[in-house]
Symmetry: C2
Subunit: 346 residues, 2 copies
């Protein structure tokens, strides 16, 4: 398996574009001698960056696929599907569809990615709505949160499918079997939340494949009381981005303290290494790379503001998904008879 790792990388998109993607690719190839990368983007621009890095030996494992068309942040999903079929993002997805690569990574426009993934790869049979999911650090390990923003309106049945897909992804990530699944809500009491959330609770409870642990609140995502947290894309997006915002705020506050006063600066210097280590344990860059679950292929979305370090982390996530063949596992899980029966009842 190890000699077979082939990933597609969309070099465009994200705030830094190829300036973060190319160095991440070089680092990835150095770290994993069995890996091969197909890099999609404007060839002249990419070639320049790679020459700068002076990595002639890696060239044989790094294939540049020229794509002059680029999807900008303002491009809406419909435009992407209709007019951006030759873009670096669409071509990278095509290479997943054709089986040339086992996974693709991009830091580009999320809406366009979701629309193009559905269009080019297609949904896994039985999946109503693919969802974005990600493992977040907790006090005890990791919690898989989904949907992170692919779907605004979610029925109880959609949330049930998210749970099943999230369980598969978290199994691959943690290697554990018996995973506790919760629904994100504004309180733990059974009467809380929207009708869809309460109806989802009934479906989760009735499903023999789900070890349902009840409602949890936003802070419980990070305590590690459960392994998978399911919610609609609006709540999941707000949860993840608010958490990221606070981490950035704390980083900024450290910097402010560091600057004030000679005495504090002295201890600040001693403390700063520790502070950095502390922060890196929870910072978003370390856990970059959301998986688009429910489409016929492994699609990994990096944070749009990803640094080279962060994009490299997203590539590691893609490697994990590719080696475990997450999309195929999700496909098998969704095809299981008991599961389909539960959905038919609804």
């Amino acid at each position: 398996m190890s000699s077979q790792l082939r990933l597609a990388v969309d070099a465009m998109g994200g705030d830094l574009g190829p300036r973060s993607v190319v160095p991440a690719c070089i680092r990835f190839l150095k770290k994993f001698p069995q890996a091969e990368l197909k890099l999609f983007g404007p060839s002249a621009q990419l070639q320049n960056l790679i020459d700068d890095e002076r990595q002639p030996r890696l060239a044989s494992r790094l294939e540049i696929v020229p794509c002059e068309q680029v999807i900008t942040q303002s491009c809406n999903p419909l435009q992407a599907v209709r007019h951006k079929r030759d873009s670096s993002m669409a071509c990278a997805l095509q290479s997943v569809a054709s089986g040339e690569v086992q996974a693709m990574v991009t830091s580009g426009n999320t809406g366009a990615l979701l629309a193009l993934s559905r269009n080019i790869l297609g949904n896994i049979e039985g999946v109503r709505k693919p969802a974005l999911g990600k493992a977040l650090p907790t006090e005890r390990g990791f919690c898989y949160l989904l949907d992170l923003g692919a779907n605004i309106d979610c029925s109880a049945e959609d949330l049930l499918q998210f749970a099943r897909m999230g369980i598969e992804a978290q199994r691959i990530h943690t290697g554990r079997r018996n995973l506790a699944v919760a629904l994100l809500n504004i309180g733990a009491e059974p009467h809380k939340g929207t009708e869809e959330i309460r109806r989802a609770a009934e479906l989760f409870e009735a499903d023999p494949k789900i070890h349902y642990a009840g409602f949890v609140e936003g802070h419980d995502i990070f305590t590690g009381v459960v392994d998978v947290v399911v919610c609609d894309g609006l709540m999941g997006n707000v949860a993840m981005k608010s958490a990221e915002g606070v981490i950035r705020l704390m980083g900024q506050k450290v910097f402010t303290i560091e600057k004030k006063g000679a005495f504090k600066r002295f201890f600040g210097q001693l403390a700063i290494k520790l502070l950095r280590k502390w922060r890196t344990q929870v910072e978003p860059a370390r856990y970059n790379g959301a998986c688009f679950l429910g489409v016929r292929g492994n699609v990994i979305k990096s944070h749009g503001g990803a640094s080279s370090e962060a994009f490299y982390r997203a590539m590691i996530t893609a490697k994990e998904c590719a080696e475990a063949d997450l999309a195929a596992k999700v496909g098998r899980a969704m095809a299981e008879a008991e599961w389909n029966r539960a959905m038919d009842k609804s």
Copy 2:
């Protein structure tokens, strides 16, 4: 004004009950010699805690109002309104309604508080749905976020009212006039979000009283790019609690690093004071106390897990609201002609 500060305090509810509330009251009375407190709860239990504190001089400014009935965390809103009219929470609200006190503080059951507040105090004229709001720390100051969980289903018109109430609250908190208002969404682009969010954007844009700054994402709450962020109670609750969860996680990670290795422990000791100061700049306890905006009286909800320190902070928030008479200001803002006209159009 300063000789007139009278607050009602619900001693029951929250994880710690009177054990966090009573020390906070003692500290508050010591700090503010002009303040008088009415403390609602089982008198024997409260008297014991106050005797323990040995504060005979403060007794004249701390009136215990005996209430044996208590609202538990499992009590639902309807039960509270029907069967808990003699509870410490309901009696504290009654003292706001009668004008005996200028504000009340509780760390009890949120659902019960919202239902009892509406029932005992009534909504301000023209307010469809009161909302919970709170000022959160940002990189540049504070951002007022609402609704934090009072309302699950919110129309565009509800969100417009939240904006107006949030502006008043943030004006009092910051003393500033021209406040930028945003809607919380999953992206900044105009096509993002639910229909209600997009419709709210149109209403905000058309309102001459609102300096509308567009959509923001979860992380923008903490950057300080805007002064007021408006959303439904589900999104607001998830945003606030996810942020709190990450801060707690970071605290726990520091502790883990501190324990490992002698060398690190040595520097850890030097660094720990600085780390604590850093964390207190953003930790939830420091910014405790959400205001229930839109009812005829100043009602402040403390975090349920509040320590004595955190409950004291909620009392400071209550003092601010009482001295500025936030509820009256919200009432005047909602009565303004232009505002009503904008609402009528909808």
